[in-house]
């Protein structure tokens, strides 16, 4: 147990190191940059906005439905070729501390490239297909039953990005105890999955990979719309 804890606690440090290495500033040979400006508040804020637009322009140039998360003004925007087609209000935000501990310039550079969804786990189906077998003749034919549009199923999902970041989207919890239980079970499953993964790495004497996370809560309807709209390997840009 101690060994597991030590290895697991080491992993965020490795991730910070990896982010700093991969996205750090590479000085062009032609010009010299005063690196002190990277910690200037004006530079930091303009650079963050620039990287957000950079990511959104890249997404707009792709032929896909994309998601822009503006955590500073708590909005999630679905975009198709740069056109905002759906706006949702984010009610709760939690961002891994790793992003604050890594070098600011590196984290901003990381966000300048849209995150690509590699895998997802969800409590709802992406495409709610209903299987229907055609009748043999007209005597067997029955008109379609009206679809059940009452959304009783809880909506919680996780997007695992190819860069290691995870986006957790939870529906807003109201008074419904069932939804709370569903969220608890969903979270527990995710934690167990992480343990399994960590144990695999630790048995092989490797420090497990740490996945920095962004957790947001949305209205149930918005969470469902976003999940169903985004393609399997959709793109996401984040600003904070």
């Amino acid at each position: 147990m101690i060994y597991y804890a030590v290895m697991a606690v080491l992993s965020p440090g490795r991730k910070i190191h990896a982010i700093n290495n991969e996205y750090s500033y590479r000085e062009p040979e032609s010009s010299k940059t005063d690196r002190r400006m990277f910690s200037d508040s004006i530079f930091v804020s303009v650079n963050r906005e620039k990287s957000f637009y950079q990511a959104r322009v890249l997404m707009a140039e792709s032929d896909s439905i994309c998601l822009s998360l503006n955590l500073s003004d708590s909005t999630a925007i679905l975009e198709i070729e740069g056109v905002a087609v759906h706006n949702a209000k984010i009610s709760e935000i939690t961002v891994s501390k790793v992003f604050n501990k890594a070098d600011e310039y590196s984290v901003t550079s990381m966000r300048a490239i849209p995150f690509t969804i590699g895998n997802d786990y969800s409590t709802i189906r992406k495409e709610p297909l209903m299987i229907k077998l055609a009748p043999k003749d007209t005597s067997e034919y029955k008109p379609d039953i009206l679809p059940d549009t009452a959304s009783s199923e809880p909506v919680n999902y996780i997007f695992e990005m190819t860069n290691g970041t995870r986006l957790y989207v939870y529906q807003d919890l109201g008074e419904n105890e069932g939804d709370r239980m569903a969220l608890y079970m969903f979270d527990l499953k995710d934690r167990l999955r992480n343990i399994r993964y960590n144990l695999k790495s630790i048995i092989n004497l490797k420090v497990p990979e740490y996945h920095p996370s962004i957790k947001i809560s949305l209205a149930k309807a918005d969470a469902k719309i976003i999940y169903r709209a985004l393609p399997r390997h959709g793109l996401i840009s984040v600003f904070w």
């Binding site: 005063d34 400006m37 950079q54």
Partner: protein, 270 residues
């Protein structure tokens, strides 16, 4: 003699008295516990039950601790593990440096350029947005929302013919589309699935039974690949996913959209 209730002297209890009373009570409780424990100890059956209960509590606590350790404590430690942020020193003089100012200015210009580029993606002309999850539409003109309402989109039904040799999936495609054609008084040419669905043998391509008038409303707009935005006789289904992939609207919305969108106008479906 003047005296009222306020003047009656009450016995003031010293804090030391309170403390000794509390200690006395604690001692008494301890004695009672010892006494009961001794009782249990002297009774063989009670002793066994006590031991077993203690063991069960211990095991449950251990399991809970191990569970919490892996599930909650370690992830918490991961999030709180300390590491200093590598900060570069801020030197006040650098802010007055011309080269430094130039770099900040350039960054601002780059940001503005990207912002303009991004904003230019939203068309100035009219466009339609269709939400297939909620079955709603929004019509925009000059980047302003001018009309919204209900529609019907694909039902996500997978139909397999009775022989199991062919399949159709009735879903509305997602992404960016454009109006290919505007049609008035559209005629519905029933595709094969329409017959298969009702258990009717599929007629030849140009058979008369394939043509149906008046079921698509007064107007239709083609999105390509056989997908249309059209009217419906099943108005009670608007707001529900019931179509075979086309987008159905009520008569008023259809007319407004038909009159607002032109050939080439963009339709965003998500």
């Amino acid at each position: 003699m003047e005296s009222d209730g306020n003047n009656i002297e009450k016995p003031v209890r010293e804090p030391a008295d309170k403390r000794s009373e509390l200690v006395g009570m604690l001692l008494l409780s301890f004695k009672k516990i010892c006494h009961s424990t001794l009782k249990i100890y002297h009774n063989a059956i009670l002793r066994l039950v006590f031991r077993k209960t203690l063991l069960v509590i211990l095991i449950i606590s251990m399991v809970l601790f191990i569970f919490s350790w892996f599930i909650y404590i370690v992830p918490y430690l991961q999030e709180t593990s300390k590491r200093e942020i590598a900060q570069l020193p801020i030197i006040a003089e650098s802010k007055n440096d011309i080269a430094y100012k130039k770099q900040i200015l350039q960054l601002g210009k780059d940001e503005q350029k990207l912002s303009r580029k991004f904003k230019a993606y939203t068309p100035g002309q009219s466009y339609l947005v269709i939400n297939t999850t909620d079955n709603r539409f929004s019509l925009y003109q000059n980047k302003t929302l001018i009309r919204k309402g209900f529609c019907s989109t694909g039902s996500y039904t997978q139909l397999t013919n009775s022989e199991g040799s062919k399949q159709w999936i009735f879903k509305t495609p997602k992404g960016r589309f454009w109006i290919h054609e505007k049609i008035t008084s559209p005629l519905w040419v029933r595709p094969d699935w329409s017959f298969v669905e009702e258990g009717i043998p599929i007629p030849p391509a140009n058979d008369e039974s394939r043509y149906e008038y008046g079921v698509l409303g007064d107007y239709a707009m083609s999105l390509g690949d056989g997908y249309l935005i059209h009217g419906t006789i099943y108005k009670r289904f608007l707001g529900m996913p019931v179509t075979h992939g086309c987008v159905r609207l009520n008569d008023e919305d259809l007319e407004a959209i038909y009159n607002t969108l032109n050939i080439g106008s963009k339709v965003y479906i998500f």
